[in-house]
């Protein structure tokens, strides 16, 4: 079982920052990916048009979702796919469990699916005696380490190769102190080969579900989704309702954007289309809502459902790079996770929209142009209005409001503040002042600008 943390982002981020060398390494690793993304994007002169096209296609999807879903269902069924609807995480997990039971097995292989992370599928199945092995290399590593993924595209980006060697030593029987990436990858490959060959049920995620044809596309770099699905008798594909695109030709927009935004590659190594089950085999699609229709009904936040899970916003986020994915204590971390999570549980994730400087870099890299930083700002308002701000914060804000709403009080407070810094610095230069912990206070000038102006310009 993976332990879910109850601490808030600021505290978890502070813990992450105790090891500054590690923060530097984490920041530089992800910044390197951001730079690869920039290079890749700048090679496409029409990049901004592509983003705009993707955004408009997704806007169209969100406005006509009911029709596209029904169209997709009809076409998928006529292709021989069995289709299931799940209103929430629990329904999804129970459907998967039932399908595994029907196949008469107790073991399943699964490629990357953030939806199953969101639904807590692995934990649910473990409780029911079903073993799930994650076949994405990074996911397998964090699974062995009994940790959640820290990044939606690079699940074990927080682990150094030496630590991965240690995990493989403990769980996969290699010698101690091996950190050669090629050796470690080959070890995982051999280990997973045995899994692929013996599992009768394979679950994959869905990157794009094409309404026009009833097919779906799964993108991986390792080919692990294909290995699992092709060798199993039953292929279960889990997708959120927002994964729909209207027509196959739209893949020409999304596949160009997805991996350039994610890692800087032109396209994923495998972009596999699944349409019809082979003879004697089965394909099931589970279409999951789990709060998405609620988000669709929130005018200010609905377009967060345009997300194609590229994680470009993670890689560019200066806060994510310096706080690590686990500090977000949710399946989908980073800026996009911070606008998705409060929809699922506003109280539990009330801290996340505040884990940002609102610098806006996330919105700029987003391939489907989600106004992420503006939604962070709007979530802050919603969270405070719903009563999830602390009493101290509320009192502080009220005091600030009184002061700043009155020119008299403002000048009085300004003068008092400057006086304190100048003549009683101990009152602010202490550990109760979080500013002072690692930063000096600004110098206190003799006079404010308004005092200077009055003296020099109004006489």
């Amino acid at each position: 079982m993976i332990a879910r943390n109850k601490k808030e982002h600021a505290e978890l981020a502070q813990e992450f920052n105790r090891d500054e060398d590690r923060v530097n390494w984490h920041d530089e690793t992800l910044w390197w990916i951001r730079e690869k993304r920039d290079k890749s994007a700048h090679q496409i002169p029409e990049w901004e048009h592509l983003r705009e096209a993707a955004s408009q296609i997704k806007n169209n999807v969100l406005s006509n979702l009911h029709n596209y879903l029904l169209q997709f269902e009809k076409n998928a069924i006529s292709n021989g796919i069995e289709l299931h609807w799940a209103a929430n995480a629990d329904e999804h997990n129970r459907i998967v469990h039932r399908l595994i039971n029907e196949a008469n097995v107790v073991r399943m292989v699964k490629s990357k699916s953030m939806l199953t992370e969101e639904c807590g599928l692995n934990e649910y199945l473990a409780q029911h005696g079903i073993e799930v092995i994650d076949s994405d290399l990074g996911e397998r590593i964090v699974q062995l380490a009994e940790e959640p993924p820290s990044h939606i595209v690079l699940p074990c980006i927080h682990k150094k190769k030496e630590e991965i060697g240690e995990i493989f030593h403990k769980h996969l029987g290699i010698e101690a102190n091996i950190s050669d990436p090629q050796f470690l990858t080959e070890t995982a490959r051999q280990h997973l080969r045995g899994i692929f060959l013996t599992r009768k049920v394979a679950l994959t995620g869905v990157n794009f579900a094409v309404a026009e044809t009833g097919e779906f596309v799964v993108c991986t770099n390792e080919g692990n989704a294909d290995m699992g699905a092709h060798l199993a008798d039953v292929h279960i594909a889990s997708m959120g309702i927002e994964k729909i695109i209207p027509e196959r030709k739209h893949l020409g927009v999304f596949l160009r954007l997805l991996t350039r935004s994610a890692t800087g590659q032109p396209i994923t190594t495998y972009s596999s289309h699944f349409k019809t089950p082979r003879d004697g085999k089965k394909i099931h699609i589970i279409i999951v809502d789990n709060g998405r229709t609620v988000q669709l009904g929130r005018k200010d936040f609905r377009n967060s459902l345009k997300c194609i899970r590229c994680a470009a916003c993670f890689n560019t986020c200066p806060v994510y790079r310096r706080s690590g994915g686990h500090s977000y204590h949710t399946a989908i971390a980073g800026p996009i996770g911070s606008i998705l999570a409060p929809n699922l549980d506003m109280k539990k994730y009330a801290d996340l929209p505040f884990a940002s400087t609102l610098c806006g870099s996330c919105s700029n890299v987003c391939p489907v142009k989600i106004d992420i930083h503006e939604q962070l700002y709007k979530w802050r308002q919603v969270i405070v209005k719903n009563g999830y701000a602390s009493t101290t914060k509320k009192a502080g804000m009220q005091a600030m409001t009184w002061t700043l709403s009155s020119p008299f009080l403002y000048h009085l407070a300004g003068k008092a503040g400057r006086w304190v810094i100048k003549y009683a610095p101990f009152a602010v230069n202490n550990k109760l002042n979080p500013w002072y912990k690692h930063r000096d206070m600004p110098a206190s000038p003799e006079w404010s600008f308004s005092e200077w102006y009055q003296k020099n310009r109004q006489n």
């Binding site: 600021a10 981020a13 502070q14 920052n17 923060v23 910044w31 920039d38 994007a41 496409i44 990049w47 901004e48 560019t316 200066p318 806060v319 310096r322 706080s323 505040f354 940002s356 400087t357 609102l358 610098c359 806006g360 870099s361 700029n364 700002y377 308002q381 969270i383 405070v384 209005k385 701000a389 914060k393 804000m397 009220q398 600030m400 409001t401 700043l404 709403s405 009155s406 020119p407 403002y410 300004g414 503040g417 400057r418 979080p434 912990k437 690692h438 930063r439 000096d440 206070m441 600004p442 206190s444 000038p445 404010s448 600008f449 308004s450 200077w452 102006y453 009055q454 310009r457 109004q458």
Partner: protein, 244 residues
């Protein structure tokens, strides 16, 4: 042209030099500048913390102080962005809208309205430019590394008119410094780490001064520089553009 000078609260109290430089620079360029004495704050500290509903008083004051001017100029990208995006008054919605169109960040005003082509200024130092996010990404006063767009920078173009100045290149041209308003205390650890990294980029490239359009980012970086015992100083862009 009547210009109302808006001096953000913390600049008024802690960095009067930046405000005086802004005033004198505008006057030198022939602008008739007025400073309404009853101004306080744009309300951003409350709004960014989720308390936008408490900004009614600040909004009313702002409109009262500035509605009469042809333009409003402030030496801050962040406060201008807040006014543009969030100033509102249910009793007077039109006035708020008009203000949001006539308020300018200083370098944008110099570039777009005054169309400044030369400056009588001298600053013989190595200077690193901090691209404050709200001015850059919010007001688009310079191009952004994330977007595929032609490169431009209003602050840089103006600084290049200053004689003797030597602009240093940075590894990360437009990464956030981590100030972020109340973020700087609520997320102290990450805020400080971001600030340290930003400062280090300038130091590694030999900057003697770090400048920018927002004193708030500079105040945060100044706090870190001083704690490190560094001799490198922060300076608002107005003070360089007005330096002799």
């Amino acid at each position: 042209m009547k210009v109302g000078l808006f001096i953000p609260c913390y600049v008024d109290q802690f960095y009067p030099g930046a405000a005086i430089a802004t005033l004198k620079l505008l006057e030198k360029l022939g602008v008739e500048v007025f400073y309404p004495p009853k101004q306080t704050c744009c309300g951003q500290p409350m709004a960014n913390s989720g308390f936008e509903h408490l900004t009614t008083g600040c909004n009313e004051l702002f409109i009262e102080n500035f509605a009469a001017f042809d333009y409003i100029v402030a030496p801050s990208g962040s406060c201008v962005l807040h006014v543009r995006d969030h100033l509102h008054d249910d009793k007077n919605p039109g006035a708020a809208k008009v203000i949001s169109h006539k308020i300018y960040e200083l370098t944008a005003f110099l570039t777009d309205v005054l169309k400044v082509k030369r400056l009588d200024a001298k600053f013989p130092h190595r200077v690193g430019i901090h691209q404050s996010c709200h001015g850059q990404r919010g007001l688009h006063i310079s191009s952004m590394t994330e977007l595929v767009e032609p490169e431009f920078s209003k602050p840089l173009s103006l600084l290049q008119m200053v004689s003797g100045i030597d602009i240093v290149e940075l590894d990360r041209k437009d990464e956030c410094c981590g100030f972020g308003g109340t973020f700087c205390v609520t997320e102290e650890a990450v805020s400080v780490k971001m600030g340290k990294d930003r400062v280090a980029d300038h130091l590694e490239h030999g900057a003697e001064y770090i400048t920018g359009v927002d004193m708030s980012c500079l105040m945060h970086m100044e706090g870190i520089l001083k704690r490190q015992g560094s001799k490198v100083k922060v300076i608002h862009i107005a003070e360089i553009l007005n330096a002799r």
